[in-house]
Amino acid sequence: MITINGKEQPFTKTTLQELLVERNLAIEICAVEVNSILIPYKDRDNHNLRDGDTVEIVSLVGGG
């Protein structure tokens, strides 16, 4: 299993970039942490995910 933004789901994808493609986020502006460590956007292709990882995907919203 892999936890994405607090929700568990089956682990299928190997790289972070593949996960983003699956979620239709590959071309969106977002930032990603894996196990509380920021993975810079340039490194997503090379970052292999593992079973049990916790992924946080964040983006910009309105704020003061």
Binding site: L25, E28, Y41, S59, L60, G62, G64
Partner: protein, 278 residues
Amino acid sequence: MTTQKIPPLQLQNITLASRLVVGTGKYPEYETMQTALEESGCSAVTVAVRRERLVDDKGRSILDFIDCDKYTILPNTAGCFTAKDAVRVARLGRDILEQLTNPGSSWVKLEVLGDKTTLLPDPVGTLEACKELVADGFSVMCYSSDDPIMAARIRDAGATCVMPAGSPIGTGRGIANPCAIKLCIDVLKEPEHGGDPLYPVIVDAGVGTPSDVTIAMELGADGVLLNTGIAHAKNPIQMARAMRLACDAGYHGFRAGRIPRKLHASASSPWDGTIAGE
């Protein structure tokens, strides 16, 4: 009539043509936000970092309504109650802004809050986060209470500017303690009190009306940051325009030098030559 152009606000490598910084939260819809930002004349806007909520129910992102070539985007750490979380969110925001190649990428509007009731800053957490972010290369715009001692501590920690609260976030109570704000400004900007005239002070939070903006500027602030006062106004676009004009009025008012307050009246018309009572 002459129109004196107000000089831009310099924050390290960022030059802000307008002295209003406007938040992008709480607007009824993106289109209103977009027009209000334009009417406010602002050149920097704040945004928040949140879990994947990339598009609204119409498939639109907030970035579809903010011209990244026109506005400097300042990510905030709103919602953080610890230094650790604030640093984490700041780094996530930087990663996003670097993808946008926006000048705000090395900037953060730092908020470390004490609780959800007051949304007042936690001074200890704020100072801790400020130091860590400065060491990590961030330019920190630091939300603070209106305590002048804390304001000086934040400056000494390396913050690019200190942003004392007029009153708690979203309250619309305006400049609740003008004396405290003035003390912050004196300590940070007046050489005789150990300040530097070029050190930027931006009053943040609590603004409800255009006159609140003017008061902050008349006290000598370099700028004002606001969100709810525009976004929740009955007519956000008209209010944005009013806030812009109020900021300009306060800027000129402070520099023009106000008259001293007196107890007794002083007639504006001459006594000499009066025929009353003859």
